[in-house]
């Protein structure tokens, strides 16, 4: 452990031996979805020429609609038919599916299906959807607010009226697409011999997908198998149920054949889950010492046309409500957090979920207040960060030990803040605008069932189970319900297990992502897999280790406490008498008569782990240069101080940060899904939706702190989302810092050149060119 072992996953991926869904569809027939070109309307008819094989909602009338549930009064359930029936609610919604012998022929066929839609007035913007005469997306609800959660401590009005400074602002984060390199896709095949259907799909949670397919199609789970091959990125977009996967499974059963749906980029941008799109109104009350006393927040999240299964559209507003305080200590809080339906693509959690936006809100609040107090931005943070642990937040979350203050101090030191301020002034004298921005945040990870149960989820994820076997040759197989897809978990878990069992990590095989081969589990999302599956792996290995020790002790006639298992051998401490681990393994199977009375033959174990959760933390610092004439922002330097507890493989941790920060910078400066007022999506190619390339992303400097808390049995904390959570606020604060003399407020992401120019032109009195 603690070694940057090269990832076992990489050689096949780097040499072209990876196998993704689209590599596996030989012999399949091809599906193409006919999608609605209209954002809101009534379907009058779907006309299918006789020579086509195609299906509509009418054919699928026995398939239940997707109905994600929370058991709470502030959530109103809405239904999503897997193919639109009667109504269409967003451009790109699947209305019919055609089956053909090639992808090209499937597109030709889809063009021949005529969908006659009576258009209704659409609503696109979440704030417009709140208006009383707004078009209603779900008639049965009668309005567009499907989540309306409130929390209030009391004393809010009093604290605000006696505060020394009140900072108020509106914040807007535009819509993004998580944009996995590999879009979604699946292959469903019906086995005529067994009557089972196997779905090979690019998803993050095979067991959950199997459960919901069984529910919607009214099949026993045992008649279904879900397999996930290599996945080319997911980031949350492949966690929630794709209606297309349900349709593919149904068509396979109906035709008793193999059918394949490979989503293309245009479909992905148009109809794969989007994310973010929040509107906030924030007020913060500060004392004369720049202590944050109270926050009053009104949060509105655009959830798109439907709720997502299993987490529901409550995920964004409810997480925002509960985790808004982040790393700051204040005791007075009022919040209303709403989820609002619109005629846009449904939303699902994307790396970071609400936290990139709530972190942006808190960090902008801190910087705005610091400016009022004429204080360095790091100083106001020092005064307000939590420092005593365990800390219970105003919403009742318990934070384990972290290094909030230390991370800020170290980031300021690495950036060399004093030196930067001199450089900034010198640059300004030459007409160049540099700025520095900090962002400090907590990242709640390893959510167990208790954390999800607090949201009253009908499907409450959390635990993970690991089944482990050491075979007679001494090699280990660990089978997980988690479903890693690029995070390097095969390597990290092999290190962790190898360390416990005294065998080289290369002798540990991790089996995952196949419901026929693995115990029930929740998949990989929410920075949970190393914490939870890792904890279960640790427990399962401890059981095996104890058994290896017991067998060795009996064979070597020593006390179990005197046996050390290391480097493939169990030895009596202080001697070189010992047995190879492989010898013990073989003995446990092939000479089980020698085992002590009551000991089962073989080496197998099963363990489940379900922690309450743990908080990692970090401080990001960015230096940017703003080109006032063009509105362009260039990121010159990006420094991260990260504390994710014990690092099992530091290189993999750094990789997670690089990817996450790149996506954070993407959200801060580049990526934006746009709709027009009619609900037509304008960004359906990578010429219009702009993920940054290597050329736009700076070198990322990473410094680690390692605070070990007892919140997890491995000492490791999750960190998969932190990069994406912290980077946008650091960039926004840096741009605001660069433009401070002009009093331009950066309260909307992404900060595109055109948007920044508009802001610069709007400030009066500033000496803006143009």
């Amino acid at each position: 452990m603690g070694r940057s072992l090269a990832r076992f996953e990489d050689p096949p991926l780097l040499t072209g031996d990876g196998r993704f869904v689209a590599d596996l569809n030989q012999g399949a027939r091809f599906l193409r979805f006919v999608r609605s070109p209209i954002a809101h309307g009534r379907i009058r008819s779907v006309e299918i020429p006789d020579h086509l094989t195609a299906f509509t909602a009418e054919d699928l009338h026995e398939v239940s609609p997707i109905r994600p549930l929370l058991h709470r009064e502030d959530y109103l359930p809405i239904e999503q038919p897997v193919l639109a029936s009667q109504k269409v609610r967003y451009v790109g919604e699947p209305v019919a599916v055609v089956v053909a012998d090639s992808p090209e022929a499937a597109e030709d066929a889809a063009e021949q299906v005529y969908v006659d839609i009576q258009p209704d007035r659409p609503v696109v913007n979440a704030l417009s959807a709140l208006e009383t005469n707004a078009p209603v997306v779900h008639d049965l609800v009668g309005h567009n607010v499907v989540v309306d959660a409130c929390f209030e401590t009391g004393q809010v009005a009093e604290v605000f009226s006696s505060a020394d400074e009140i900072v108020q602002f509106d914040l807007r984060s535009q819509r993004q697409n998580a944009l996995p390199l590999e879009a979604r896709g699946s292959i469903a095949s019906y086995d005529r011999r067994t009557g089972r259907i196997t779905l090979i799909a690019s998803v993050q949670s095979p067991h959950v997908v199997r459960t919901i397919l069984a529910d919607l199609l009214d099949l026993p789970e045992s008649d279904l198998r879900v397999v996930v091959p290599d996945v080319g990125g997911a980031f949350g977009q492949k966690f929630c149920l794709a209606p297309e996967d349900v349709v593919a499974t149904w068509v396979a059963g109906r035709l008793r054949a193999t059918v394949s749906w490979i989503e293309d980029r245009r479909e992905n941008l148009m109809s794969s889950f989007h994310s973010r799109d929040h509107h906030y109104r924030i007020r913060g009350a500060f004392s004369s010492e720049a202590r944050l006393l109270a926050v009053d927040a009104d949060l509105v999240c655009n959830i798109g046309a439907y709720s997502c299964y299993p987490v529901t559209c409550g995920v964004e507003p409810l997480m925002a409500l509960a985790e808004f305080p982040g790393p700051y200590d204040f005791r007075t809080y009022r919040v209303r957090s709403r989820g609002v339906t619109t005629n846009t693509c449904p939303m699902a959690p994307y790396r970071g979920v609400s936290r990139p936006v709530i972190t942006l809100a808190m960090e902008r609040l801190m910087d705005k207040a610091a400016a009022r107090f004429g204080m360095e931005s790091v100083e106001i943070r020092r005064r307000n960060l939590i420092a005593d642990f365990p800390y219970t937040s105003v919403t009742g979350l318990v934070y384990d030990e972290g290094s909030y203050l230390e991370s800020v101090n170290l980031a300021a030191e690495k950036i060399d803040l004093d030196d930067f301020r001199r450089r900034q002034q010198a640059a300004l004298d030459q007409g160049r605008r540099l700025g520095v921005g900090f962002s400090v945040f907590s990242e709640r990870t390893g959510y167990g069932t208790s954390a999800f149960a607090a949201r009253s989820m009908d499907v409450t994820p959390g635990f993970e189970t690991v089944d482990m076997t050491m075979d007679p040759s001494g090699n280990v197989e660990a089978r997980l319900g988690a479903s890693p897809h690029g995070q390097g978990l095969e390597t990290t878990l092999a290190q962790l297990i190898g360390d416990r069992l005294g065998v080289d990590p290369s002798r540990v095989r991790i089996v995952h992502s196949d419901t026929d081969r693995t115990p029930y589990g929740w998949g990989t999302f929410a920075s949970r897999s190393l914490v939870i599956a890792g904890g279960a792996a640790r427990l399962a290995s401890d059981f095996l280790r104890d058994k290896l020790v017991a067998i060795a002790a009996a064979e070597l006639e020593a006390a179990p406490e005197d046996i050390v298992v290391r480097d493939g051998r169990a030895t009596v401490v202080g001697t070189d008498t010992g047995l190879e681990v492989a010898e013990i393994a073989r003995l446990s199977y092939h000479s089980s008569h020698r085992l002590s009375a009551g000991m089962d033959p073989g080496l197998t174990s099963t363990a489940t782990y379900n922690p309450a959760g743990t908080f990692s933390n970090a401080c990001h610092a960015a230096i940017v240069e703003v080109d006032e004439e063009t509105g362009a922002v260039r990121v010159e330097r990006f420094v991260v101080v990260e504390d994710a507890g014990r690092l099992i493989n530091p290189m993999i941790v750094d990789g997670q940060l690089h990817g996450g920060i790149t996506q954070g910078i993407a959200g801060a400066l580049y990526e934006e899904i746009r709709y027009d007022e009619e609900g037509n999506i304008l960004t359906t190619s990578l010429m219009d939706f702009l993920p940054p390339t290597m050329a736009e992303i700076p070198n990322i400097e990473i410094h680690h702190l390692e605070t070990i808390s007892d919140a997890t049995i491995t000492g490791a904390k999750g960190l998969g989302e932190g990069g994406t959570i912290g980077a946008p606020a650091a960039i926004a604060n840096a741009v605001a810092d660069a433009l401070r003399p002009l009093e331009v407020e950066i309260d909307e992401l992404p900060i595109t050149p055109a948007r920044l120019r508009r802001l610069l032109k709007s400030v009066e009195g500033g000496k803006v060119i143009g």
Partner: protein
């Protein structure tokens, strides 16, 4: 009421016939035969994406790539003659001595990404007539003479007449662009090229190319061409006129930039409004002049 609509998403081309002529004459015959049904396939870097989106649905593709006689560079009569099939990447190093080669090289590195530059052709870019294409702007800046051929003869079209609007040129459906002729600028000509794009390799939101001489301390024969801001590459005649005869330097460059920004009819799109495009023209024009006197 209600209307019938087509599926909004596609990524695979509609079916088409592929023809690979063995000679220029054969290619021209095919074009004459199929007319509007046919499209010339050059580098395919614009046509193929358009076909994948089914925005273009040619029934017939006439592939000119095998016609190596269309891939040449020649210098004659103070002119650089560029065969239509010369690939973008060829221009990354100056293809001729002097400012013309230098200007082409300055622009070349902004044309898409490396794989696109290796495949895409000079003539294909002109025939495609994207208003943000570097070669279209250079052609307009230098008043290129565009030489075409069809089975019924050939003609010369000046760049000003050639570019009509977005993706639309003066070419007839049966007409092939053969060659672009650019003047070899005299060695004392100063050239500048500036563009602004969101990411490396993207089509520019605006670009400005300038060329001028300095005679007796004054700016002479100024040319200013703009791309990405309107429906076709434009010149900025008022700005050219106002800087002609001026002292080169920050004040005159700023004034010309201001005039250029004002005189153009800019068009907005989702990456920036017309007013933002003007802001870019202002900044880039000044920077192009500064660049021209600094480096050349």
């Amino acid at each position: 009421m209600g209307v019938q609509y087509y599926n909004p998403a596609c990524m695979k081309p509609a079916s088409f016939d592929y023809l690979a002529p063995r000679s220029l004459e054969e290619a021209l015959d095919y074009l004459a035969e199929h007319g509007y049904e046919a499209k010339v396939l050059a580098g395919g870097q614009s046509l193929v994406p358009a076909m994948n989106f089914r925005l273009a649905r040619p029934a017939v593709l006439v592939d000119i790539n095998p016609l190596s006689e269309l891939d040449y560079l020649e210098e004659t009569d103070h002119r650089l003659r560029i065969g239509t099939l010369v690939r973008h990447s060829t221009f990354e190093k100056p293809v001729c001595q002097g400012p013309t080669g230098r200007l082409l090289a300055m622009a070349a590195r902004h044309v898409g990404h490396w794989p696109i530059r290796v495949r895409g052709t000079f003539g294909g870019s002109l025939a495609h007539a994207d208003p943000a294409a570097e070669w279209c702007v250079i052609a307009r800046l230098l008043d290129a003479d565009l030489v075409t051929r069809s089975s019924s003869g050939g003609r010369h079209i000046p760049a000003e007449m050639f570019f009509q609007t977005v993706f639309t040129t003066a070419l007839e459906p049966d007409e092939l662009l053969l060659e672009a002729r650019l003047p070899l600028l005299s060695s004392d000509t100063k050239v500048g090229f500036q563009q602004f794009s969101r990411r490396a390799g993207d089509f520019a939101l605006a670009m400005v190319a300038v060329a001028f001489q300095i005679e007796e301390g004054k700016v002479m024969n100024p040319r200013i061409a703009l791309g990405g801001v309107s429906d076709r590459p434009l010149r900025a005649p008022e700005a050219e006129q106002m800087i002609e005869g001026a002292d080169p330097g920050d004040p005159s460059f700023r004034a010309a930039a201001e005039t250029a920004a004002r005189e153009i009819e800019a068009i907005g799109d989702i990456h920036g409004s017309a007013s933002y495009r003007r802001d870019l023209v202002r900044a880039l024009t000044r920077r192009a002049f500064e660049q021209a006197i600094t480096i050349s």
